[in-house]
Symmetry: C2
Subunit: 321 residues, 2 copies
């Protein structure tokens, strides 16, 4: 059994190569560029962990892990175009550096490359793997579309937001673990538990991410604290605040969202506190984390094999609050 | 053996259905929209013809044909975004109607759907089919990137243009035929000849398309005559004119490309005629068509089975000039 750090460095060794031809460099250099920006490689490591939970890691798990990481980067390139984001991981986004048309195409061709890695998988698992991958890819597109739809709406219900976040981010984590489980020879019951572990862990992570935007330590939080508040993003916090605020608080909140007062972040955060949104968010995160851990508990494998996945949960979810 | 018209209507019967879920309609309605704009369905019919050249059409050929048509429409959606094209087949393009971000995502999810159709193919052919499909998809992306690169360059050589056009349009026709051949049980030699038939037919078609832009009958040509000339598009005609023009003609041509004189189309067309570009283009088209037909001739199948593919060539390539 290998730790997250060990598996991450094992994956990096195989992944740290050029994944594209050297010809047509105007297309393939931009695709290669984003892969070299790094990242924690959480999703491909989940594939390897999903495999190792049930047996020794087979070469196909590396093919699937590579496909997952290429798919993830394809979706980042296209999301950044849609969000008009200038920066990612402290560097220019692909469309900022190479133009939108090339970024669009570089994303497309990265997606094709993902499928070519999947196509290296032994034929007895190929259809199952492809089907799960396709379902997941479609879900991620749906999630991104819903996210854009929500931006245009005055309000979003909590269950709608959970459904969107699940599609946009959690199912990829879940599917990565399940892909590994399939390749490790797991039965359908265990595959299901591992999928649900990843899905609920992903939602808990998003609750935490939304929480930290308002209540995080500016020195530790990677992004600008209050960024979601400034852009009126309908996060777990804002949605719950709007659902529980008094008429007076709701009016104040709506006023703050319309104007852009210099102390907007401070004032909105204060309303969040008055509505006890911070406490609620901690409890919600705990609920999803517990559900995730229960599914890991229910996976029919001896406990010691589950250690790396417990570590993964601890790594993604800070337990101190 | 069925004709193009028969196979086209057979394909349309299976294809004329909703290919996407009814939920998340903000994503899937835009995807479905472009499929209903029609089109000649040449590429999926090529899959069916490639199959029927070697045996009865099997259900997998319809899966592959559907995947090819979905891929083609995915590439149209993304190309239209890149080209900022407002109209396609007399209707609004997807991004014009639904916005660029949704069009981008609708394209992505259409591409996923194509792979899900491929995944229905019997497992003994799956890896071969996927590999050819992936190679082709990457080639189409490369072709589109080269096309954009060429727009920024002062001049393009004929062999570079042929290579670009081959990637951007011909390989999809070629691969459609080969996919059908694989599913029909053809050997590698026959697969190769059919691929080359499609590839050379595609290039001949493009020579004709470029020719008709300048010399076509305005009443019969679907697009605006002279559109390529007005936009200084580096077509077969312009490239050859620039390679063969006298110093004086070249200067006049470059001047016309810089200015936008009211009689630009007429003047450029006159230089094309003076350089005998029209005659050259007819000969070039004939050359590619003959190469295509030679590969069909060399396919080891009794002649009568080749009739629909002969008709296809005649349908795509007008023989009267």
């Amino acid at each position: 059994m290998q730790s997250f750090t060990e598996l991450s460095s094992l994956f990096e060794t195989t992944f740290n190569t050029r994944h594209f031809p050297t010809h047509t460099a105007t297309l393939y250099d931009p695709a290669q560029y984003i892969l070299q920006l790094g990242g924690k490689r959480v999703r491909p490591v989940c594939v390897l962990m999903g495999n190792e939970l049930f047996g020794n890691i087979i070469p196909d798990a590396y093919h699937a892990a590579t496909a997952i990481e290429l798919f993830h980067n394809f979706s980042l390139i296209h999301d950044d175009i849609m969000d008009k984001a200038p920066m990612r991981r402290g560097m220019e986004t692909v469309h900022q550096k190479y133009g939108e048309s090339t970024a669009l195409l570089a994303g497309d061709v990265m997606f094709v490359r993902a499928y070519e890695y999947l196509n290296k998988i032994q034929v007895n698992n190929l259809q199952k793997v492809l089907h799960l991958f396709n379902e997941t890819a479609a879900a991620v597109c749906e999630g991104q579309q819903l996210d854009m739809d929500f931006e245009k709406r005055a309000s979003v219900k909590l269950d709608e937001y959970v459904a969107m976040i699940t599609l946009k981010t959690s199912v990829l984590l879940a599917a990565s673990l399940q892909l590994g489980a399939i390749l490790g020879g797991a039965g359908e019951g265990n595959q299901h538990h591992l999928y649900e572990f990843g899905k609920n862990l992903g939602i808990a992570f998003q609750v935490q991410d939304d929480y930290l935007d308002a209540f995080g330590d500016p020195d530790k939080f990677g992004k600008q604290v209050g960024g979601d508040i400034l852009s009126n993003k309908k996060t777990f916090l804002l949605i719950h605040a709007m659902e529980t605020a008094s008429a007076e608080q709701l009016l104040a909140l709506q006023q703050l969202m319309k104007e852009n007062a210099p102390d907007k972040v401070q004032q909105v955060t204060q309303i969040f506190k008055d509505c006890k949104v911070d406490y609620w968010a901690k409890e919600l995160k705990k609920k999803y984390l517990q559900t995730a851990l229960q599914h890991l508990e229910d996976t029919a494998v001896i406990s010691v094999r589950k250690q790396p996945l417990m570590e993964l949960a601890a790594y993604l979810i800070q337990r101190e609050y």
